[in-house]
Symmetry: C2
Subunit: 679 residues, 2 copies
């Protein structure tokens, strides 16, 4: 198949070049953190009981705070480094330590601190952020409710302004309105940023009965103290423990309920909407819907961070599984006592290498996402203007990338566990806990299925300004009302150099290793899927349809909607991979990455070959050629598997798993020596 020359000799210099390329813009910070040998100590034995686990993680978090690990993302004005991308990267690196520690730090600095930073005014930032950073003010991000996870706009917790005292009264009306799965709640939190439906009495109105006078202003965040300095829970606050979880047991998740808790008006995080002393509400954003999504958009960093963590966890699991696969031997070769290294079996390569290629691809997509986040939020914090559409693209990429990376982490860690057999099941080898700790990533910070719908809507609407809310049904109305005639500038999301984009789909006579053929094939699938989706939704525009019928139209197309989102994201990720390779100058590293990129693209095409065949995009012969080439690439890359995982740059001391750090090699050497002695 391949007409290319074979891969050049891979040297330590190649690995160094690979690593620098994967590290991306924040490679210096990554190296700085890699220097911290003591990170290896930041891990808790999985057997530890919940209370001791939580206590140990709390102590480690304090160590991080003392080391200034928290400062990266916060404004210089309050003692931070003002390096937003750096905060995401430093968070990601914690995936190599303990994921409970990572998530705990994310709750404190990313979510609680991030809410104050994104939604609070300057005075509030100056007052609270120093304590957030140095951990003197441990806090919670209280958004999700037992009854409303994905549909945040419908939270039932209320905050009602009482002009007579100048206070906001926070209430939890029902059990399903309790704030749930809240990190820092069960043990350590002293304050929470609580997302509520804000009500105030409109001073301008007159006469009518009290209930008429109450006006709802939509979702806002209010700072509510939870515990006193002595750690005792404050009056009116009710905290219950979520107890033991599948993973992340070092994080003290709990439920929060509020019974008439009064806080001063000044506790409203009011950057996007405020209540005057007399109860008058004012906001720079007229539409409640847009106000809500502007606030949510300002919190996008959390999603980007989870995505980075998933990529980090996947790369750690693959480092362990590849190293073991190179040491482990099973079954003797014919006419020989020498047993075969398991990674030499095609089936084992198939288990690990396409997943490894995908981690490379997602790493580059993640790097671009972090840069986009950094540039946009840095501009905004500097008071600069950010184009609305660019902000929406950021939100869409964050949603889509997070869905891909977290599902990939779940699948690939599982494959790594199985590839390590019984050893993979022992906690000392980390894979089981990595799986359990990261499992929740697919459903927190936005359920992946809901996030893909968000991506699809962006494609349909072309990020129109009044781009709708997360309500999946809203899609139908929105689409029907406004955008069905044109599918707006998809291409604005795809900036790959034109050399790879001749018109039309990939031609069947191209070499399957032609990057342009791969790219065009994915582009073509994206365009076709999206156009089909629009056709299927168009009937919903008929205003005479019942709500049930409208729902049916949306619901019958839901799998198509999800496919359109995936098709778009696959293309986006391939573009990122290609651009990533272009940032590397080392020829042998480039050559190696080109092959890895082939393996990524072709295994993706192989996975969905049913679609490509069904839609006449590839011939049967071509489909078979793709499979043959995936096998060939697995065997071509196998000798370089170790180099590819070494390039993740996980310090030896951090890896931990005995099977990845010599134990199996020593056993094999001893066994072979013993066998030799017998003959």
């Amino acid at each position: 198949m391949s007409t290319r020359t074979s891969i050049d000799d891979v040297t330590p210099a190649t690995v160094a070049a690979l690593q620098k390329t994967l590290d991306g813009r924040w490679h210096t910070l990554r190296d700085e953190i890699r220097g911290r040998e003591d990170f290896a100590e930041l891990r808790v034995d999985p057997g530890t009981d919940v209370e001791s686990y939580r206590a140990a993680i709390w102590d480690m978090l304090r160590r991080l705070a003392d080391d200034g690990h928290a400062v990266h993302g916060f404004p210089a004005a309050v003692g931070g480094r003002g390096d937003i991308g750096g905060s995401v990267v430093s968070f990601e690196m914690l995936a190599f330590a303990d994921l409970s520690l990572q998530v705990k730090s994310g709750v404190q600095w990313g979510l609680f601190g991030g809410a104050i930073q994104a939604l609070g005014n300057a005075e509030q930032q100056a007052r609270y952020l120093p304590g957030v950073m140095d951990l003197s003010l441990p806090g919670c991000f209280a958004m999700t409710e037992t009854g409303h996870g994905s549909d945040v706009q419908s939270v039932h917790t209320t905050a009602t302004y009482d002009a007579s005292t100048g206070e906001l009264v926070v209430n939890t009306p029902t059990e399903s309105a309790k704030k749930d799965y809240i990190g820092n709640a069960a043990r350590d939190g002293r304050m929470a940023a609580v997302f509520v439906q804000l009500y105030s009495r409109d001073a301008k109105r007159s006469g009518a009965g009290p209930s008429e006078q109450l006006e709802r202003h939509g979702v806002h965040a209010v700072l509510v103290p939870l515990r006193g300095d002595d750690g005792a829970v404050l009056p009116g606050v009710e905290i219950t423990d979520d107890g033991h979880k599948e993973g992340l047991n070092g994080v003290d998740n709990g439920r929060l309920a509020f019974h008439g808790v009064r806080v001063p008006r000044e506790n409203l995080l009011d950057r996007y909407g405020t209540v005057a002393e007399d109860g008058t509400y004012s906001s720079s954003i007229e539409s409640e819907n847009r106000r809500f999504f502007t606030m949510l958009g300002a919190l996008v960093r959390g999603r980007v961070s989870v995505s980075g963590s998933a990529v980090g966890a996947a790369s750690l699991a693959q480092t362990i599984a590849v190293r073991y696969g190179e040491a482990r031997r099973q079954f003797a070769a014919p006419g020989s006592d020498e047993e075969i290294t398991v990674l030499d079996y095609l089936a084992h390569q198939r288990k690990l290498l396409p997943g490894l290629a995908r981690t490379y691809a997602l790493r580059f997509a993640q790097n671009e996402l972090v840069e986009m986040l950094h540039d946009i939020q840095t501009t905004r914090e500097a008071g600069g203007d950010v184009d609305e559409k660019r902000q929406r693209e950021l939100e869409s990429r964050a949603a889509g990338t997070k869905a891909l990376t977290t599902w990939h982490a779940t699948a690939t860690i599982q494959a790594c566990r199985e590839a390590c057999g019984g050893q993979g099941y022992l906690s000392e080898n980390r894979l089981g806990q990595l799986r359990a700790d990261t499992d929740v990533f697919t459903t927190f910070e936005g359920d992946n299925t809901v996030l893909l719908q968000l991506v699809a809507k962006g494609l349909i609407s072309g990020y129109a300004d009044d781009f709708g809310n997360l309500d999946t049904l809203g899609t139908v109305r929105f689409v029907a009302d406004q955008v069905l005639d044109t599918v707006a500038e998809r291409t604005s999301l795809r900036q790959l150099t034109e050399r790879l984009r001749a018109v039309g789909p990939g031609r069947d006579e191209d070499d399957v290793l032609e990057r342009s053929w791969q790219v065009k094939l994915l582009d073509d699938r994206e365009e076709h899927t999206l156009d089909g989706l629009v056709r299927r939704l168009r009937p919903a525009r008929d205003k005479s349809l019942s709500a049930e019928r409208q729902f049916a139209i949306f619901n019958n197309a839901q799998d198509h909607l999800l496919r359109a989102a995936r098709a778009h994201l696959d293309g986006l990720v391939l573009d990122a991979f290609v651009r990533g390779i272009d940032t590397c100058v080392d020829p042998s590293a480039r050559a190696l990455m080109e092959r890895v990129c082939d393996l990524y693209a072709l295994s993706l095409i192989e996975q969905d070959k049913g679609w490509f065949l069904e839609h006449g995009r590839i011939s049967a012969a071509r489909a078979k050629a793709v499979t043959a080439e995936v096998n060939r690439l697995c065997q071509e890359l196998r000798p370089h598997a170790r180099a590819l995982v070494d390039a993740f740059g996980i310090p030896e001391a951090w890896i931990g798993a005995p099977i990845a750090t010599g134990a199996e090699t020593r056993r094999q050497d001893e066994a072979r020596a013993h066998a030799a002695a017998l003959h």
Copy 2:
């Protein structure tokens, strides 16, 4: 698309009929066990530390022993019930209690007791089995070594007969020869059935030096005491703890090493090979290879039991996820305050219902496997003759079914966890622990990938008598030497009524709901894949090829080999489903199962539509029709999802998970009442 009438009203009688059909031949025993309310207490809080967990499980195991839960599978002669199928079923039911308890019981009664029953002589059975059953003799099944899991035939542990004392001397030569992951080893085991390479001095030979005189007789099992009555580890025995694991932490897995441990000759389990006092070895089976696989074949019950456990765990997870999906609501319908039940979304149905259909299919395949095991082993225990080929078919079906059921459990429990969002991550709702506990099933009792290779070899060899060992490379030599001209009686494995088997592949004009079309499509794929595999392996017959070249031929075809095995198994499972439906007389239950069977078959075809299109077996239009029909079936079956999981017959008290037993419903009712009060 469907020309059939819609499903009849589903009543409690329908559910009862479904349950009886799913229960199969042992339905009375299943009902007997369901009557045990106290099973709900047989569960340990996942947060429990390892030592307390192990202690609790030990106490529960004793309760089971006292209740006579152990007796089912053992011979009446020693106080058992002689009900082999019943032992597998009673083991499976424990999946609804605690999986650590289940696996612990499997180690004691299935593996340790099973080894004595299958490999020991009558005297040994009479001597040891009563203590095995009443738990006065807790034991281990010490087969796997750190260095040899799948390749059991190459274990390095040795037992050398010393005629001067009439003892066997057991040794662990290297670290990788340690018996590893051995249940009951770290805490409770008093004795182990240790699998060793047996050596004895051949009395018939003369003169030569000592080493020449030592003759190896291949793998045998020896009973070795581990601890004294006081629980202290005996001299020469070394036991280390495998420590905390991803799951199953109530089972005390450990490593065993033996340093010159001497046991009387009578401790050799010698049904298939024995050593006389003078050291002469004799066996009823000449070929060492056949002897090994005969012994292994006698132990097949363990694999069948794990397979049943996987089906049980999957059905419990689906019961929880479907119940929650029917209570949980998210996002309001257009123009309404009423939120949509999540199971009404097509994407949610797609997440759960094809997997549910697959659990039905695998349940029927498992039932047939248990019947086959029961009939064969019952015949043999009664001294009857069992046809060699039937035994091989049993081993192949056990291997293949176990691979499918355990991979299915891993995938579907994961899907159920995600479908339950944050609630699914809380241990109280069981899904996380179900995932962690069952994860190891895919690699223990035979690594699934290796098991599929075993199935493929059976297909190629047509179960020729000298059907080779697990050595994957052996395949090539074996195939090359003997069977490449004919692919022997595949059909002997497929006994579906001929009405479904007209000649040739499914015709494109058939309705996709035509069962005969579905069956023929799968048959055709099986035949084509297998023929292609044989063609690819044929070159290996050239004797002049180097070992490397032979390996390359095998290795390049390994993915094809695995595909052939899956294709065969898919057909086998569909046949079992069809036969299962035929055992049901209730018309509404039959109608419902026919739809479930359609969903199983069509989602299977959809998954692999790439292959069917690539090989011209279906047209593009037909492929799209299949996808449309899968969506339609999801929506048609959705109203009956609850009935379908209720038919698994898991007693309410055993389900445990709050989200599956009313908690969410209560929350939703309260929230809706509150909302109503506001208007």
